[in-house]
Symmetry: C2
Subunit: 333 residues, 2 copies
DNA sequence: TTTTTTGTGTCAACGGGTTGACATATGAAA
DNA sequence: TTTCATATGTCAACCCGTTGACACAAAAAA
């Protein structure tokens, strides 16, 4: 069996209280005793039971993370940064991939509460989960409205939509289409569409947005892109609401011999920048989003939220694709 | 304050023992009582404290995951699958990004033990962490040797190296170079190199492997690739030890006007398949790796490991890049 | 010498739920 | 009528570490 504090006390020849005092640096302890205790802990390969401590202190330092899927490089990088920041502050991270399924999100939410997490960061996309209102815990949402009470961190989706659309116009595109994920009303990401439509209209044109029926399913993207090419052969510019979708547009465009199609994506993850440096995209400040989310969570914990804004919008940046070498491009391999 | 079992008992007009019996379905309980209790739990928004239960049962259903970084799409997808499988079995996942740093890996290891995880899955890459030998817990390593006792799950790296090299030879390449991550001896991934060198030698040629000094740093990849192009302008085939490296090779090749360079990567993640469908790669069975790792962990927990193999190698597959449309390729955008 | 600081021990309660032992009280079957 | 299955309560111990109260020394400072 695993050793406990009594075993350490016995081996060190002191009382359990003294061991506890050594571990928590409380009261007076002589160097000699401290050494004896540490020695005993090493000898028995002892690790203090954090469960027991958490139980007593009513605080676990667990943070729950609910995201659709860290397979997606945007969420992967975001969660990576969040975990890093949490770790540096002594928090531990419980990872949940909800797959945008209501049932999964619900049961994760219950699980996190049963496990007494100190807070939750949610980046998933289901609505109609009323549970959020009754949770008596610090929560921060990323790019998502959950309830009145819950602060939201998002990139400047509206501005992103504008930048993307303007760039396409500047490139000389005449027929610019926007492709968006399934419409989840009241999701900040829909403001990308607003930015696009506004900009198009400002140029006296008519916006056209295609929606993908189900997200997280690659094939749905392909289907939608093909549909667009079939229905709108005149298209010469596409603003895709995320980089993977943009990548799909590009590869379908190659298949369909549309060398002049211009594409802008959204997210600007490292991974996609490496794989598709030629892609122009709206770069989200992923690290800042992570940092802000954790800060807001901690602020809630310390009841410092009175004056804080409930919605924090971080600036985006258009990153132009690096132009590749001329006509002697690499085809395959 | 959060309600506890006594609050529920009081409200339902029963004893705490009865509440516990309802929650755990033990002994005799009448429908009436069950309803009263459940009603009370709902009313007070009660969630049983899993910490207390875990403390008593000496089992948390926490699984620790230590990986270099889920920013990398391979680890991202792997961890995604692992989390999914764990969740379906009632396990919860504590995520750790070690960044391949010894100090981080050590402190995560300690943290996981303090938090009484039921097992650990390690996919990180540091050696010289002797702690693993003294951990009295089910552990599974992915693509990494940790100690005698610890089973390893890996893709067939050797075969992958062979397939990749053969494909390049079949494509007519005369000067094939291999690029590998920093040499961590006794890591199964080094067998990719063995497969490459063996195959090259079998064809009567001389293998040439370049090593990247530090991994996880994109710029190191670029530097190495440029160095290769400078030192070996005759190169016409490259086997890169992972897809992001292969992507770097491709984009650098474009910059350097090497349209005929053939490249093979390794991993075959969804993300890279979407971003770079033209890339030929060795596809790891990511889902199977995840499943096997979890199974081995559970098997250890149930002491069913006596007969099991200590190293499980899963087959890989060469996935040819989809040839893109002819010369009228998309350059930028 | 007296007072203070330092060092350690004992003890019990606590956090929240679990479980076995045992008592008791119905209602139903034998 | 006896016996048994059903239903619930009380009680204490347990999981493991924390903490406050209090006692008692020994060493250092006043």
């Amino acid at each position: 069996m695993k050793p406990n504090i009594k075993d350490i006390a016995r081996l060190a020849g002191v009382s359990p209280t003294t061991v506890s005092r050594v571990m928590n640096n409380r009261g007076y302890i002589s160097e000699k005793t401290r050494k004896k205790v540490n020695q005993a802990m090493k000898e028995l390969n002892y690790f203090p039971n954090e469960l027991a401590r958490s139980l007593y202190h009513q605080r676990t330092r667990f943070i729950g993370l609910i995201f659709p899927t860290i397979s997606n490089p945007f969420f992967g990088e975001l969660v990576f940064h969040i975990e890093n920041i949490c770790a540096s502050m002594g928090y531990k991270v419980l990872l949940c991939n909800s797959l945008d399924r209501v049932d999964k999100e619900r049961s994760y939410l219950e699980m996190l509460q049963r496990n007494q997490v100190d807070g939750i960061i949610v980046g998933a996309h289901n609505r109609h989960i009323s549970e959020y209102q009754s949770i008596d815990l610090p929560i921060v949402a990323i790019d998502r409205y959950l309830s009145e009470r819950i602060p939201v961190v998002a990139s400047d989706n509206f501005q992103g939509g504008i930048l993307a659309t303007r760039w396409l116009i500047d490139q000389g595109c005449r027929h610019i289409i926007h492709i968006n994920g399934p419409r989840k009303l009241e999701t900040p990401a829909n403001r990308r569409r607003d930015g696009y439509e506004r900009t198009i209209e400002e140029h006296g044109r008519i916006p056209l947005t295609y929606e993908i029926p189900k997200s997280l399913i690659y094939h749905e993207n392909v289907k939608t892109v093909r549909k667009i090419f079939a229905e709108r052969p005149e298209v010469d510019g596409i603003f895709a609401s995320d980089d993977l979708l943009a990548a799909t547009v590009i590869s379908e465009a190659k298949k369909c011999h549309k060398p002049d199609l211009k594409v802008v994506g959204y997210d600007g993850t490292e991974t996609v920048r490496i794989c598709l440096p030629q892609l122009t995209t709206i770069k989200q400040p992923i690290h800042e989003i992570a940092e802000t989310a954790v800060q807001l969570l901690v602020a809630q914990k310390n009841n410092e939220m009175t004056d804080r804004k409930k919605e924090i919008i971080l600036p985006v940046e258009l990153v132009e694709g690096r132009v590749q070498a001329g006509p002697n491009n690499i085809e395959d391999s």
